[in-house]
Amino acid sequence: MYTQKVMEHFKNPHNMGEIPDADGVGTVGNPVCGDLMTIYIKVKDNRLADIKFKTYGCGSAIATSSMITDLAMGKTLEEALKITRGNVADALEGLPPVKMHCSNLAADALHAAIEDYYRKQKVKQEAKQ
């Protein structure tokens, strides 16, 4: 059912864990649906210096979380915001059709983390003024 690539990421997910002093945190999904994903980011010079994830969900939820960290690491925030769900699925050499919507949430979680970073920056800026 899953590609070799999905199973590799499921077996040995990359960048699993939390970043306690993260610059941005994004959570998407809902345990009621069976998938919940949190992405933590560290930003340096407008680039993603570190990314980590925590995920509750099925095999493809875990594999997409791992894959997004690979795809986005080192990218500028603008580049990272352009990564789509489709890019993640393609990088995993495809996902079963039924999983395309429910558990392919990693791009959304990354975007939410970047938006959270922008929001926090804005608050900091305003505090300075």
């Binding site: 499921f10 009621v32 649906c33 099925c58 039924v98």
Partner: protein, 394 residues
């Protein structure tokens, strides 16, 4: 590198065919291939096997005579034939059908279909163990009820329903009782006469017979509206040339089951209880689904909080262990098992379910192997999950 161990714990989904059964089937594919409807010698030989097979199935469930056994293509067909066949044939008695909320989809969906044909269907509630609420049955059983269809034991959670009590209540009114014994038959003794069952669904593969064969017991005197129209085989209620090889295999499987069921079930109950304890006791937030004692000997259904079933299933598969899950993520529908939800579990609890169903090939070593794997699998997935309480990851 040593060869990887493979352990099969998904017998409710499919069972290997007993070698003795395979042997019993072979002659009917290449030598005795006649059509039972033919009058010549080939045909009559096949006919003889067909009728002897009927007798063996009748003996397994203590049916009054062999003619009460109708062969079908599957338990799904038997359930469809029972529900649609009775409801349509006896619709002058009423248009109400009662069933439980822990039925197999081959009962749920025919019942739902009947609501488009002018019938009203009530899905009766169960308790936290999946046992039918008998007061609800009594309350909903009106004079207009034509059929009550209840599972003997649900294959997902293993809970055995109180069929004797259900039968007494149902027969207090002018309704028929159909029982889906697909998961139960072959594991527990079923006596249609003593238990007051009017129609009973059984399946061949669940007794280590071939797939593609099922049967429906119909108590003498009860009639059906056929669902397959054709050459009038099976008393005109199920047309289509009989699958003689499959039926001969089914009969052999039933004969073996009748002889070996008691010691095998006793062996499985011991394994089952050892398995349940090993999967739940050493791991925090691990629970048994279904009834602790009123359960099928083969069924071990557990759930783990904070993690999802499909990821556990995949983790076990990577270790060579085959199981099932009631999680939405392991289903085609993206909905968790309706059976688990009916017992009052929340969606997120049902997603964490895992089902092991044991069989003749499984040993205590198999059980201990999985019991040894489970804490590591749960710990790894919990370490990944944002839902896990911090103290569990310490």
């Amino acid at each position: 590198m040593t060869e990887k161990r493979r352990i099969y714990f998904d017998h409710a989904a499919g069972r290997p065919v007993d070698p003795r059964v395979v042997e019993a089937m072979l002659p009917f594919m290449q030598e005795a291939y006649g059509n039972p409807s033919s009058l010549h010698t080939y045909g009559q030989e096949a006919k003889k096997t067909l009728e002897e097979s009927r007798t063996k199935i009748a003996e397994l469930i203590n049916a009054e005579k062999k003619e009460t056994i109708l062969f079908t293509s599957s338990a799904t067909e038997s359930n469809n034939l029972a529900i649609k066949g009775i409801a349509n044939r006896y619709k002058d008695r009423g248009n109400r059908i009662l069933t439980s909320s822990v039925e197999h989809m081959s009962v749920v969906n025919p019942c739902k279909y009947m609501t488009t044909k002018g019938f009203e269907v009530v899905f009766l509630p169960v308790d936290q163990y999946g046992v039918l609420n008998l007061e609800a049955l009594e309350k909903e059983l009106t004079d207009k009820t034509v059929l009550v269809t209840i599972v003997y034991a649900n294959g997902e959670i293993g809970t055995i329903e109180p069929i004797n009590e259900i039968s007494k209540i149902v027969h207090g009114k002018n309704a028929f009782l159909h029982v889906d014994a697909t998961a139960a038959c072959g594991q527990v003794t079923i006596d249609v006469k003593a238990e007051g069952i009017d129609l009973l669904t059984i399946s061949s593969n669940d007794m280590y017979g071939p797939r593609g064969v099922g049967a429906l017991y119909i108590k003498e005197g009860i009639r059906l509206e056929p669902q397959l129209h054709g050459g009038g085989q099976e008393r005109g209620w199920r047309s289509g040339t009989e699958n003689v090889a499959g039926i001969a295999g089914f009969a052999k499987a039933a004969e073996i089951t009748k002889k070996e069921m008691k010691p095998e079930s006793e062996r499985l109950v011991k394994l089952r209880d050892r398995f349940i304890e090993g999967l739940t006791k050493p791991i925090p937030y691990a629970f048994l689904d279904g009834h602790p004692t009123r359960r099928l000997p083969d069924n071990v259904s557990v759930r783990y909080s904070f993690i999802e079933g499909e990821s556990m299933l995949l983790s076990l598969d990577l270790e060579g262990v085959s199981v099932s899950s009631g999680s939405a993520c392991a289903a085609k529908t993206l909905e968790p098992s309706h059976v688990l939800l009916a017992m009052g579990l929340m969606h997120e609890e049902a997603h964490g379910s895992l089902m092991f169903t044991l069989g003749r090939q499984n040993t205590a070593e198999d059980v201990d192997y999985v019991v040894g794997l489970m804490p590591g699998i749960v710990k790894r997935l919990r370490a990944m999950s944002p839902l896990t309480p911090k103290e569990l990851n310490a």
